[in-house]
Subunit: 326 residues, 2 copies
């Protein structure tokens, strides 16, 4: 018997990505804008349309798939399929599982998007074969997830893995979460943009905002970062080095506490800059490892699956949960 085909969906604040997945292979996929501002009903309908497009591409219908698993950007009750809180979608207590089951008429499983992506990287990507893995995702914010002993670590309330809110500087910069000194307040794209703007307002010069305008971007995107670095923009370089330093402290802290075999870095910034972005993080991290045998063997690597990590990881979750439900 071949492995079952699952629909894996990554529900992001900007895009919905759906795919038919067998094992670690994407058989067909489709991406659409989320349009979260138009409300829950519109998003549910758009997920439905995206999934049906994938089915059409495969000449299949809902009955041909074992299940659908969706990763949502927020706190999820995996038992009930309720998204308790997803600030980027402006959702509170949305019964995503039930709504999608009604829309699509197939078994629906819901999980957190970062857990799903981290698990995808663990099973089929950069963390393949590792017992313990930490994922750190650098984008608009800093997300993360833990795979411990081969399974995602959810925690007591189901909200483990908030590595972006590890405090790396007491009474430091204010974070988007309202607290002070979180790594996200130094190393996210949002933070880097704010830091560069502050320096500019102090009178230093930068091309970052010109490049942003040229590219028609309203905020600091990964492509703006890359172009600014290529242009030799000093403030951009400093902001990146600053981000790498705090990500290095975060990495060391996670290594000292969890002792993982591999730390996988993902998200837009890492996809754009690759291992060059990671190496300086490793330098700082190694300075803060508690010296112990084998520390040099801990791998710090870029994510391997890109946008596929979500759907592929969702399919892994679906297969495991269906297995344990038998």
């Amino acid at each position: 018997m071949s492995e079952p085909v699952i629909i894996g969906v990554d529900l992001g604040a900007t895009n919905i990505e759906a795919a038919a997945v067998r094992g670690g292979d994407i058989l067909a996929s489709k991406k659409k804008k989320t349009r979260a501002r138009e409300g829950v009903d519109v998003v549910i309908e758009r997920i439905g349309t995206t999934v049906r497009k994938v089915m059409d591409k495969m000449d299949a219908d809902a009955a041909d798939f074992e299940a659908l698993c969706i990763g949502a950007p927020g706190a999820v009750d995996i038992e009930s399929g309720v998204v308790q809180s997803a600030p980027n979608l402006n959702w509170t207590n949305v019964a995503l599982g039930d709504l999608l089951e009604e829309e699509l008429g197939m078994p629906i499983l819901v999980d957190n998007d970062v857990n799903v992506g981290v698990l995808g990287e663990h099973v089929y990507g950069a963390g393949k074969g590792a017992l313990d893995m930490v994922g750190i995702f650098v984008g608009t914010g800093i997300g993360g997830g833990l795979v411990l002993n081969g399974t995602p670590h959810y925690g007591w309330r189901g909200v483990a893995g908030e590595v972006g809110h590890v405090v790396v500087k007491p009474n430091g910069r204010q974070c988007g979460c309202g607290r002070y000194g979180c790594v996200e307040a130094y190393a996210s794209k949002t933070a880097m943009e704010a830091i560069i703007r502050e320096e500019m307002e102090k009178g230093r010069s930068t091309q970052v905002f010109d490049i942003m305008e040229e590219k028609g971007k309203a905020k600091l995107t990964s492509s703006v970062i890359e172009a600014s670095l290529e242009a030799g923009d000093l403030l951009m370089e400093e902001a990146i080095q600053n981000a790498q330093y705090y990500l290095g402290l975060l990495t060391a802290n996670l290594v000292n506490v969890l002792d993982p075999e591999v730390v996988v870095f993902g998200g837009g910034v890492v996809e754009r800059l690759g291992q060059d972005f990671i190496d300086p993080i490793g330098q700082t991290a190694r300075q803060h490892y508690l010296q112990r045998e084998g520390a040099e063997k801990i791998r710090l690597v870029p994510a391997a699956l890109g946008d596929d990590a979500g759907p592929v990881g969702a399919a892994v979750i679906a297969r495991r949960r269906l297995q344990s439900a038998i």
Copy 2:
């Protein structure tokens, strides 16, 4: 069939504590000085003597016990029973398991002392019933351990749980481990003593060193801390508040990453000062939790078993490992 009787041993830098344990109950126990300075052979012989005293108290011999499990203060290869590195004993690659088996003629299991103590607290003490628990031990250094999903989290290299070496201040005070800004460099007894001494050398007055002398102590002990606080010593108060602040950041970081149900604080300082020491830690921690439902339910509590946590936890390890070996 009643639960098997196990010999649980806590091997510390200062004391050896051995006990006959059934379930969570100590049936008989004996404590002796470790005398690590006199070398490995002397320590092995002293462990043997301590264990035989326990057997004598019970009118029993080695054959009456299922196994002996010993927690050692350092990095342990639990498969081979080798203590790879135990700086406080000045041990490197000591085959503790084999040596004790020769000495006592019974099955020997070896584990890390903090993992053992944390597991004891998890199964029979302050963490009873919790799925995920973090242990933070405040003494000469800062130790810790994780119980995740009901089992100790060892990590890839077996060195997880080094919570004392989470960096809480970039480029901060130098730690005993050689690195900078670890929580141990602020919140251990060693650090508090150093901080008070530095302030005194700057010209501020303190009774701490007089109290130390009165009590005949060569260093800042928990009883000296308590007496100094009772005497209203301002530098001691500041050092404690400083320690609590950084322990609060550490706690928040661990909660944001691991989402435990309970954080158990143990070690000499906590045993002496109790919940009064923990409450201010909780205040700082709560200011740094990522706001999410249920955060107020996370319990921050003192360890409940005191010195018994080691032998009791060792017995839990022995029963689990014997079970899985069947």
